[in-house]
């Protein structure tokens, strides 16, 4: 089956992101396809490229990137939710006249419409919230 996840919790404060990653790994282990993970609400903070957790804690950012690398899972970040929270890629940064960026591939800024449009293409959409 085609799965997609919606992640709405900030990565180091609530279990939602951890639960979503654990579920994601089980989804692919069981032979399903994990097409996309959408990040909304404080879930967008998962895409912060400068995240530097302590060595003995899980590195969520790297774990998402690995999921993308190994299973082609798209990592889609709601652009409206991201910009107000300080997450912008190079393009948005220059569009806003700022120096530097805080988000980069494999995380992709995208409109809410893409979640909606695509949601008809998945067999299952599972939400993980704080």
């Amino acid at each position: 089956m085609q799965y997609a996840l919606l992640v709405q919790g900030s990565p180091y404060s609530y279990q939602a992101s951890h639960s979503a990653l654990r579920f994601a790994q089980a989804v692919v282990r069981r032979g399903h396809s994990l097409t996309a993970v959408f990040f909304y609400h404080d879930g967008v903070y998962n895409a912060a490229r400068l995240a530097a957790p302590p060595q003995d804690e899980p590195h969520l950012y790297d774990a998402w990137a690995q999921l993308h690398r190994e299973h082609d899972t798209e990592l889609l970040v709601c652009i409206a939710a991201a910009l107000r929270r300080g997450l912008m890629d190079e393009r948005e940064s220059s569009r806003h006249g700022k120096a530097g960026h805080s988000l980069e591939p494999p995380f992709i800024l995208t409109g809410l419409g893409q979640l909606i449009e695509a949601s008809t293409a998945y067999d299952r959409l599972i939400s993980f919230s704080p």
């Binding site: 089956m1 279990q15 919230s129």
Partner: protein, 96 residues
């Protein structure tokens, strides 16, 4: 059949009541994260209406040292079982 997923303990949040109100007679309830507390024998009465359709995530029980303390009427599943529940359901709703 709808799979309802609850991540809050009935001891602190009343959201479990919303989940129960929204559940059809064949729907299932899965407790995850802090929600697994609801499977304790003293708290499970809150979830009495869905006994027999009440599941609880093993990994979240284990990390909280609650595995041995659950009510026997809560059906323990691991994360693969979680995925399997989503396969069997038409859709899922997360309560938080």
């Amino acid at each position: 059949m709808v799979l309802h997923i609850l991540n809050r303990s009935p001891s602190m949040s009343r959201v479990f009541q919303q989940a129960l109100d929204a559940m059809g007679t064949d729907d299932r309830l899965l407790l995850i994260e802090d929600g697994v507390q609801g499977a304790l024998p003293q708290l499970i009465p809150y979830l009495e209406p869905v006994l027999g359709r009440l599941f609880v995530l093993k990994e979240d029980l284990v990390s909280r040292a609650l595995e041995g303390h659950c009510d026997a009427r809560a059906i323990v599943v691991d994360v693969d079982g979680f995925v399997s529940l989503t396969e069997e359901a038409d859709k899922t709703v997360s309560w938080f």
